[in-house]
């Protein structure tokens, strides 16, 4: 009994400052401005073109970024762990530092690299004399995708590097001495060992991509709207709180569902 009493204060704090506000969001989502309780806000939001587009964009961007991060993260971690080079430790350290910076810095940097007046277009116009460069993708979903892959790949690499350090290199030597090529060793020896870490890292990145806001906001493109962006614009720009709350509830449902899945996967993986 005393143990239960001790756990109460932090749980009450969390309840007052987090769970109760969430409950209010859910409640507001079924209370239209006209008063009363109805599912009308849901019907309105689900019927709107903007919401469906945002939902579609959010999901394909998150899936695309996750796949990109998994492939890139696996390849880079593979080199750091199994084709070691001087400075590899520094690279791993750099990745830790990278993780402590906010995501929107990447979009800011991409503006200088691929923006209309940026580096890549500058090189092109200097070389060809053309008025405009060929890189105009920054304000399209592809710009967001590039930024998300850049920012979230380290989140996959960290658990992978931890998993790779557990692999006994003798296994690789044995496989190689029996005539297996590098591709086969990666497929048959390393990949099975890394699968739990890949699954855990991948689902974490998927959730974070679904919730990403800073990258999309900094892109500043009217053409790219994701669910978090829609919550922001409905609440802050349109002052339509019931609609914002509906979008928020949908976003919560998707993210929390996936996060639950991630916890199950990572517990299985022992991470």
């Amino acid at each position: 009994m005393p143990a239960l009493v001790w756990v109460l204060p932090p749980v009450v704090l969390l309840g007052v400052f987090f769970l109760y506000p969430l409950f209010l969001v859910v409640r507001q989502s079924v209370q239209p401005d006209t008063g009363g309780t109805s599912l009308q806000p849901y019907a309105d939001v689900f019927a709107s073109e903007a919401f469906r587009e945002a939902l579609g964009t959010t999901v394909w961007l998150a899936l695309g970024a996750t796949i990109g991060c998994l492939v890139l993260g696996f390849a880079l971690a593979l080199v750091i762990a199994f084709v070691p080079f001087p400075g590899g430790k520094a690279v791993a350290k750099f990745i830790d530092v990278f993780l402590s910076f906010p995501s929107f810095l990447i979009t800011l940097a991409l503006l200088f690299i691929y923006g209309t007046k940026g580096m890549a277009n500058g090189v092109w116009t200097d070389a060809t004399g053309a008025a405009d460069g060929p890189f105009q993708f920054l304000t399209t979903p592809w710009g967001v995708l590039l930024a998300e892959i850049t920012y979230f790949t380290p989140f996959v690499m960290r658990p992978l590097l931890a998993a790779f350090s557990q692999i006994d290199t003798a296994q690789l030597e044995v496989a190689a001495s029996l005539g297996a090529g590098p591709g086969r060793i990666v497929r048959r020896v390393i990949l099975p060992e890394a699968l739990p870490a890949l699954a855990a890292g991948g689902s974490l990145v998927l959730v974070m991509c679904l919730n990403e806001f800073g990258i999309v906001l900094f892109t500043g493109a009217k053409g790219v709207t994701t669910l978090p962006m829609l919550v922001y614009s409905e609440a802050m720009l349109e002052s339509d709180y019931p609609a914002a709350c509906v979008v928020a509830v949908v976003n919560i449902a998707i993210s929390v569902g996936l996060y639950g899945l991630y916890r199950v996967v990572s517990r299985r993986a022992g991470a």
Partner: protein
């Protein structure tokens, strides 16, 4: 190891560099370069200037930096206190109870931060607690967002703790409060430090919830970077971003020094 031939190794390494440098190193270098230049209309930036930094370290920008530092410090301390308390209390519960508390404290990670911002805005814009328009609402939202991370790392550390220490202390007649204060917390100090650093870094860079909540007189640095970039002053934005990164790294460095000193004890 995986690739044995000299040629193969170099091929792999150059592929690594071709992927790694433009994707991860270039963005940070570009921000650094832009922060020192006055225009960028070709392959390289031009017009070396430190003017953006003079602007970034005075007036409203300096205020934004201190706002961010104070917010991050307050939010980390609150989150650390609540998260550690919850982790310590949950550790003495039965398996089901512990799992429930852990799940509850992890929830803020899964909920989008924009939604956390919206929820806090909806809840504290009306009586009994009106915090909207004050700086406390920003600190509160940051604390909620980072508590999950504090709880997660402290509770992982508690799991690794050898129970023999506290059992020995208790068997020698130490009261539970004494065991907590003199045995458990000192042993947890390195992970508390690491958790504090993590919370601080996250709070320093928090933008999503802050955009929904910040009052005009409490503008954290990320919001200011956004405002600068949005009105087209990308170079000022870059200088502010470098200030943000430097401040975060300095604090992390200080925290990790404390950690190494603490782990000698």
């Amino acid at each position: 190891m995986l690739v044995h031939s000299r040629k193969g190794k170099w091929a792999v390494w150059s592929l690594f560099l071709v992927l790694f440098l433009p994707l991860f190193a270039l963005p940070l270098l570009v921000i650094l370069a832009a922060s020192f230049s006055s225009h960028w209309s070709g392959a390289f930036p031009s017009g070396f200037t430190t003017g953006h930094y003079t602007a970034a370290t005075r007036g409203e920008s300096l205020q934004a930096l201190t706002t961010s530092l104070v917010t991050a410090l307050a939010a980390s301390l609150l989150a650390l206190a609540a998260g550690t308390w919850a982790a310590l209390a949950a550790a003495s519960l039965k398996k089901g109870g512990k799992r429930a508390v852990d799940a509850l404290f992890l929830l803020p990670v899964a909920v989008p931060s924009v939604v956390v911002g919206l929820a806090v805005l909806v809840a504290f814009s009306k009586p009994p607690m009106i915090l909207n328009g004050t700086r406390w609402i920003v600190v509160l939202a940051h604390a909620v967002l980072v508590t999950a991370f504090a709880h997660q790392s402290v509770s992982a550390a508690i799991q690794r703790l050898d129970p023999a220490y506290e059992q020995a202390a208790a068997s020698l007649g130490a009261r539970p409060s004494y065991v907590l204060w003199k045995v458990k917390l000192p042993l947890l100090l390195p992970s508390l430090n690491a958790a504090a650093g993590l919370c601080f870094a996250l709070s320093m860079g928090e933008l999503s919830a802050t955009m929904m909540l910040y009052p005009p007189d409490w503008t954290p640095l990320p919001v200011r970077i956004y405002a600068a970039t949005d009105r087209g002053s990308t170079f000022t934005g870059a200088a502010l971003a470098v200030v943000l990164m430097a401040a975060t790294l300095l604090v992390l460095l200080a925290v990790s020094r404390v950690r190494t000193r603490a782990s000698y004890r």
